[in-house]
Amino acid sequence: MPTLIIDNQTVTVPEGTNVLEAAKRLGIEIPHFCYHEALGSVGACRLCAVEFREGPVKGIQMSCMTPAKDGMVVDTGSAEVLAYRAQVIEWLMTNHPHDCPVCDEGGECQLQDMTVAGGHGIRRYTGPKRTYQNQNLGPFIVHEMNRCIQCYRCVRTYQDYCGGTDFGVLGSRQRLYFGRFSDGPLESPFAGNLVDVCPTGVLTDKTYRFKSRVWDLQEAPSICPHCSLGCAVTPGARYRQLQRRRARLNNQTNGHFICDRGRFGYGYANHPDRPRYPLVGHRRVTWQEALAAMQSKLQELGELFGSGSIGLLTSSRATLETQFLTKRWAAALGSDQLCFEAHPRRDFASRVAASQQLDRSASLEDVRNCDLAVLIGADPLSEAPMLALALRQAARRGARIVIVDPRPVVLPVAFERHAVSVDKFSQLLRGLGRPQQGDFSSSMEELGGSLANALLAAQRPLLIGGTDLLGPQGTQALQHAAKACSQPEKPCRTMFMLTGPNSFGGALLSANGPGFDSLMEGMEQGRIKALLCFEADPLADYPDRKRSRAALARLDMLAVFDCAATATVQESDFFFPTTTVEESVGTLINNEGRMQTFEQVFSAGTPLAESASGSHPPRFFTRDIPGSEPQSAWGILSALMGRSADLDALRREIEKNDHRFAGLSQLKANGEGRRIAIPSQHPESLPLNIASSIGSDQLQLLVTETLYGSELLSSLSPCLQELIPAPFVTVHPQDATRFKLEEGKKVLLGTPMGDLTLTLRIEGDMVPGVAIVPRLRGTVLEPLVPGTESLPCRIEKV
């Protein structure tokens, strides 16, 4: 722990900390371009020079390259140092274009800040400026190489941190070029981070191009709603339009970066088809009329059929506040027909995952620091992309990554692969739960046993499970395995990938409540006459669409509260528009049980770009904001229950009511969040595994999540829609030969949900006997939902 003096202030820092970081601890910001906390030091920009007066090194040195040592006396602002930095800036500016007015980085540009701070104004050098040709880097990133200052941050992010291989540095001397070998879209699903790390405007956000200046944006700390990891983001909005999302620092979850699904999936908030008005029977009405009509209908049904005739459903998209108030309202209505997820198997898997011992629950930071990660039935890049990036950081520090999965899994890092079909998982998990034992009855158990031994031997072992493939039983077995592989001083941590951003919250609140299957039975038998859906889409999320459609058609009343035009909204008798994450406040609990609150970024309304007719915005004066009807779901629930919409009071009530949420009312949106206090009870009963038998002329159908197109909200984002692939089915070469199928040709896939014509892909890196289809919303694959028991399917040539 060296102690040093920086600008007459004493600071003690851990061994290995550089002087730049040590100064940051004192609140002294040393100017820098190339240094980045997540990327480390390279000493390329020469701007962080400071003067060392005493100690092991003397004179002007780079503070990012000098580790702090005892006895150092550092001056960060001596005249000599300031002159040195001014000189560096002047050199950088000899080639930098004077195009700040048309540069999207303007206002948050580090070069701009440093140039102004260093006092450089007039270019003294009269030689010609260096120029480059730009490249087309795909739909997300704009390239403007003339602005480059050769800090190497982009290459270090793209290649080192994110594991991309198609973007790098070319050339030599002062003619360095940062780009691809030829034009083309950047392949890494983390390419958007280049926008955040570039200190000038070389790499900027194409979806945000020329939309706003940063100082005009409304920004607030928020949470990404596109998977269960709960990454910290800062969305920016202007003129009632959500215009961009940036990564926000949370060391416990995402660190400095986010994935492209999170960064560019924001378009759903501005979607032109977003329903923005209350509807009764597809007729636009006022809020008062709609609420009154719904309540009188509810009362009528309650009097006729009893309070048990009302079913309530929320989803993993709903905030904790909404879920809590839904539970309260169900109690007030006297109904026990309340469910927090429309997909029963995912629901119970989440409930099992939420009963995990908290000291064995892993955060993404634990993933980055693990030395052995065993993933079972998990495809991180598709289900929770930032987990893939965290695994890469673990591997860069020497961790071993083992993936056991039937699918062709891609990771931005080398890993050990075991292609194992889903029905062998139970054997594998049995072996995994019995470390240091020898009598295995099958090779699968043996593999499990050897992995268990490796987990026992590791210092910071980690088990990661995908709940879609594992199911509730598998999730439970994985928890048992983790317990068996744990030692008191080094627990084997687990992480589960859940359905949505607040699956964990729903699982905590549902306890031993019914699953959606039992609500479905109630609707089919006519016991349940009314269904109230809070940000839930049972038509799309229940695995059997025919059954859910028939059951919903039998209802006397279907009320939907949602922010997107889902399939269920089309069928609703009462519709109430709700706000998106960016338009409201709330709490989400991520897959490790971390409660995180988010703040309101902007108020809901039709974007000006949409409502502006002709060549300018409307030319009349009004107090009414078009499309501002959406209200937060918890606000609507408060109104329905006759409560005041006081968020602080509500959070205090949640805390008081349920000790697991202790600390909720003290949470700050810009903090690291807080783990729930105590885990949930393990659910008493789990739905049984009903595996269908697969005939010899059949394949096992496996529906999986994909990076783009599976998650509801991001699939509505226009810039991601371009990347949604054409519907396809993947089979093993053996099966392709067996059924005489050819790569790239159309095939007919006969599924229990109907016959589908798809393009065939052949992939060697998967188990035979399986047909893998991605979940793609808005395509012919729409009715196929992941996370179900394995189903049989036929495949033949068209």
Binding site: D99, P101, Q133, L170, G171, R175, H616, P617
Partner: protein
Amino acid sequence: MSLWRDIRGTILPFWVTLRYLFRRPVTVCYPERKQIPAPRYRGRLILTRDPDGEERCVACHLCSAACPVDCISMQAAEREDGRRYAAWFRINFSRCIFCGLCTEACPTLALQMTAEYELATRELLQVVCEKEELLIDGCGKNDQYNFYRLAGIGVAAPRGSNPGESPPVDIRSNLP
């Protein structure tokens, strides 16, 4: 002494008034005759064009950022050739205090002040001016300046062909 000062202070203004009775009046009969303001008078704002006839405004928002009364609003857009321009640009002259900070902030010299001062109207929306009403067909002051030729990003002319630029680097060559 104070009595003398009081008498002088009473009589002197009368003398000034008397003197001006026999001079030509300084006022003009507006609106029949109009005052011609100084060339740097801060009157109505205009948007100018560059010497090539293109819009100078790049919708950089610096004028709206500098404006102390928030009377300027705009939306930027991109033309096919990469030129940034204002899709719409609005100045609310009922708010404008004619301080000129916007024209000082304007990096492309698009926004300029004119000597026009007749803006009074009974119709409020007449003083909310859109781009069509603000944009003129000339350069205004500084008729040689073209931002895009000096910006260094190759919109007005191909990269490397603007004044003071070397041809684009051949990234496949390491030769000196």
